[in-house]
């Protein structure tokens, strides 16, 4: 008898199709979140504050209660939800522009306050939804619609290393960076998301996972080449790893 080793998670809305472009790793990241919700039995008790960006329609994908937040404000909204209903499992799913550009204040202060919530941030080095502008994580040299000759320090400054930044906040319990460039790393990414969720369940404080993802459309690359770029360019600057873990003293 063959045993089933993969299924569409129960926390994914039945028979939906993502609105993402072909080969976009937002789809993998949301599936991993759903698998963790399933495995920890959180589907019925979870509330997500949805962000603005390509994942704006998260409520059409994940079968959990959700509230849409204005651009960048997901963690302010999540804070309110969690403080009003500490019995609920509360998380955000945000793009890097949402989390670390317009929302950097909200994100940083949620971590500094040690809010007992979880944030997942998709780093694809650009503003995907609006057509590929320079964002806070755009790599030096990277050509975008608003850095047509490539990002240079003189004009645009340096990209932010989000997982390291959040790790420096005293209220952070867990901060990690993972990548979706390979199947092995997808499996590691899931473990990190699960750990971040578990830290909230243990009441340890702010937990955070930055996920290196792709934007084949705005990078003008095939999905295959986009994964090469994550490996060859992004992972050298945004090195995967655990930057803070209060239980491991990292």
């Amino acid at each position: 008898m063959a045993t089933q080793v993969f299924k569409v998670p129960d926390s994914i809305i039945k028979d939906m199709t993502y609105g993402f472009c072909p080969g976009c790793d937002h789809g993998v990241a949301i599936r991993l979140v759903a698998e963790c919700l399933d495995e920890l039995g959180l589907k019925e008790n979870a509330i997500t504050a949805t962000s603005i960006g390509c994942s704006v329609c998260l409520y059409d994908y994940l079968d959990v209660d959700s509230v849409e937040a204005p651009h960048g404000r997901a963690l302010a909204e999540a804070t309110g939800i969690k403080r009003a209903r500490p019995d609920k499992f509360v998380f955000t799913y945000q793009g890097d522009g949402d989390f670390a550009s317009i929302g950097l204040g909200e994100s940083t202060h949620a971590a500094l306050r040690g809010e007992n919530i979880t944030a997942i941030c998709i780093n694809n080095t650009t503003y995907g939804m609006t057509g590929g502008q320079l964002g806070p994580t755009t790599l030096l040299g990277q050509v975008t619609t608003t850095s047509p000759t490539g990002r240079n320090v003189e004009y645009y400054g340096y990209p932010i290393r989000i997982a390291e930044h959040i790790a420096l906040c005293e209220g952070t319990a867990y901060s990690a960076r993972v990548s979706l460039d390979s199947v092995a790393n997808i499996r590691k990414a899931k473990q990190a998301i699960k750990k971040a969720f578990e830290y909230q369940l243990k009441g340890l404080g702010f937990s955070f996972v930055e996920i290196l993802s792709t934007c084949p459309t705005n990078w003008h690359m095939t999905p295959q080449k986009a994964h090469d770029r994550v490996r060859d360019d992004m992972m050298k600057v945004f090195v995967p790893g655990v930057y803070k873990d209060v239980l491991q003293k990292v």
Binding site: M1, A2, T3, Q4, V5, F6, K7, V8, I12, T17, Y18, F20, C21, P22, G23, C24, D25, H26, G27, V28, R31, V183, I186, R187, P223, Q224, H227
Partner: protein, 70 residues
């Protein structure tokens, strides 16, 4: 016998699964689905599938909906 199931209406033809399968059991099909994409097909005449779920883990769109091993 190890095998996979594909929901061809969900497939966006990114073809990431084709590269991922260690046994090269996934191929581009002839049909066009409602998304206007040419979905992939599972071709395993010799029963070589490992049930490793590499394809489903890589698929961004959950078009590979089930994997069975054994």
């Amino acid at each position: 016998m190890s095998h996979i199931e594909i929901d061809e209406q969900r497939c966006k033809a990114c073809y990431l699964c084709i590269d991922e399968c260690p046994k090269k059991l996934i191929k581009v099909g002839e049909k066009v689905n409602k998304l206007g994409a040419k979905p992939v097909e599972f071709c395993d005449p010799k029963g070589e599938c490992l049930g490793c779920a590499m394809c489903a883990t890589r698929c961004p769109d959950m078009a590979i909906t089930k994997v069975f091993r054994g």
